[in-house]
């Protein structure tokens, strides 16, 4: 049984280009006014380049606006980027920042409604309807994956099962016994679940799955083929980031060739990450979003650091929104491991808290049995005197604990002889990502 892709909100998803640009212009003007009047960092950014809200008259003026980067959000930690009074904020999410400090996002009820709307449009592309049963195996919590899929499925009126992450056997039992039609989780976890079915003594024939929305980490077309075969489903790519709203910013339709950006809420741009100049459709560069309907924490020209291309080619599904390609890489050194954003600088900060190890380290990322595995090799400090095994073991344990508390993920720690990790000339190579 194949997924039946349907258009959830044709009046927005199938607009003509000029209708879309008019709507975007109106919404952009309002957003710029809001951030200028209510958000100190934006007022300062705009004042610094002598830009007034009245200078922004249409989407073509977007390029005049200053960029926003993750660092800006961190500087304003925790709530300094709100454009609404704190009393209007109804939900707060956070993702890991570059040095252990969280990137916080506050949502008004309006923003939650926007999020539910775009997530619902996304799940409709995977065929989710009132009659569906959506099993959400993303983590629920500060991470936006779980609640994003949850809000979207509920908005459609599907039965929503908030399974959250972990406990494979229970996941499989619920999926089978409840007759889930759709699964939402990271693609690597979905593949892992698929490979565990047989081991758990179950048969895929007893499952009702037809489709799913998978995201929070980059994945390849080969992984899609494997996932679709294992679970007998159509597996679609859902894109999002908590700063913009969470999953649902863009989603693949059943054409399985690029993801439709919900342009009436988020204006996408591609820029050259070096010169910061906007690039035309089809050029690879860094994806930038401006939110134009959010009120709690709207962001102007937010640099996602994700590298991809945008396309305005006509899509056979009937939607007219711009499509983004799969994310091809990052313009910074962020890693996505089991759906969690990890920066080498966080790991470095964690390591620096432990006596007995040096700041020379190397991070290895592998995908073993479809799960991301991280190993960190760290040199012992050159002048430490090793004698008792328990002393060395306790250093290792400390590094493990620190890394875990900084990034929220466990890593295998390997202590190395001082001087054994390769020193690089110029820019240090800190990460070796061996995932396909």
């Amino acid at each position: 049984m194949a997924v039946k892709d349907y258009i959830y909100r044709p009046e927005f998803e199938c607009m003509t280009r000029s209708e879309m640009e008019n709507l975007q212009s109106e919404r952009l003007k309002k957003t710029v006014e809001r951030v200028y009047n209510n958000c100190k960092p934006y007022r300062e950014k705009m004042d610094a380049i002598k830009l007034k809200p009245s200078d922004i008259r249409s989407v073509s003026d977007l390029v005049k606006l200053p960029f926003t980067v993750k660092h800006d959000l961190r500087e304003a930690y925790p709530f300094g980027f709100y454009s609404s009074p704190a009393s209007e904020i109804v939900e707060v999410h956070a993702s890991s920042g570059t040095t252990g400090k969280l990137t916080v996002v506050g949502y008004t009820q309006n923003d939650i409604d926007v999020w539910a709307e775009v997530a619902a449009r996304s799940l409709a592309m995977a065929g989710v309807s009132k009659d569906s049963l959506v099993h959400v195996a993303y983590g629920y919590g500060l991470f936006t994956g779980g609640l994003g899929a949850h809000y979207g499925a509920q908005k459609i009126g599907a039965s929503t099962v908030p399974a959250s992450a972990g406990n494979t056997i229970r996941q499989l039992t619920l999926l089978r016994d409840f007759g889930a039609t759709h699964l939402c989780c990271t693609p690597s976890y979905a593949i892992f679940l698929g490979t565990e079915i047989q081991k758990a003594g179950m048969d895929i024939k007893d499952f009702n799955l037809v489709g799913g929305a998978f995201g929070a980490e980059p994945w390849t077309y080969q992984m899609r083929a494997e996932l679709e075969k294992l679970l007998g489903i159509d597996a679609l790519d859902i894109y999002g980031l908590s700063e913009i709203c969470g999953p649902g910013v863009a989603m693949e339709c059943m054409q399985k060739h690029g993801s439709h950006v919900q342009e009436d809420h988020f204006i996408p741009e591609i820029i050259d990450p070096e010169t910061l100049e906007p690039l035309p459709f089809g050029s690879e560069g860094e994806l930038v979003f401006t939110t134009i309907t959010k009120t709690g924490q709207p962001l102007i020209r937010y640099r996602t650091r994700d590298l991809c291309t945008l396309s305005d080619e006509k899509c056979a599904c009937g939607r007219t929104t711009v499509k983004m390609s799969k994310v091809k890489g990052r313009s910074d050194d962020m890693l996505i491991i089991r759906g969690v954003n990890v920066f080498p600088s966080q790991i470095e900060a964690a390591i620096m808290n432990v006596a007995g190890v040096s700041p020379h380290y190397m991070i290895y990322v592998d995908r073993i049995n479809n799960l991301d595995v991280m190993q960190i090799d760290i040199e012992l400090e050159g002048n430490m005197a090793p004698d008792k095994v328990s002393d060395i073991e306790s250093i290792k344990k400390k590094v493990e604990t620190e890394v875990n508390s900084y990034i929220g993920l466990s890593a295998k720690i390997k202590l190395c002889e001082s001087g054994s990790i390769q020193r690089s000339e110029g820019k240090a190579v800190r990460v070796i990502d061996r995932r396909e």
């Binding site: 012992l380 400090e381 050159g382 430490m384 005197a385 090793p386 004698d387 008792k388 095994v389 328990s390 060395i392 073991e393 390997k414 202590l415 190395c416 002889e417 001082s418 001087g419 054994s420």
Partner: protein, 140 residues
Amino acid sequence: MLVKQLSVFMENRPGRLYKLTHALGKEGIDFVTLSIADTKDFGIVRFIARDNERAYEILKNEGFTVGITELIGVEVDDKPNALAEVVALMEEADMNIEYLYSFVLTNHNTAKILMRVEDTDRAVRMLQEKGIKLLSEKIL
């Protein structure tokens, strides 16, 4: 009254022990003892050389993670139950032995026991009171 020992941290991979022994061997350093404590990922090589200070310098220069530790050395008759008697004294005094190894020199009829303990001073006093013969570096 204590015996100096060198401890070297070593990753568990081929060629490492050779590098260490060769670095010392080519400089004419002679081992008196050598033992390895191993775990899954790493080992600690502990040894006593004829010239510990020089061995330490050489290894430092070669980039090894090396330290000097002081052990209690005990000489006992090379006969059954000799080790047990020493261990029993430690246990009676409620002293924890971190690690221990022993060796016998062929031209002597005594065995040497080397051990690392938590409170070295207390252990030395106790063993001396009990009349146990302690080794110094020179006797080795």
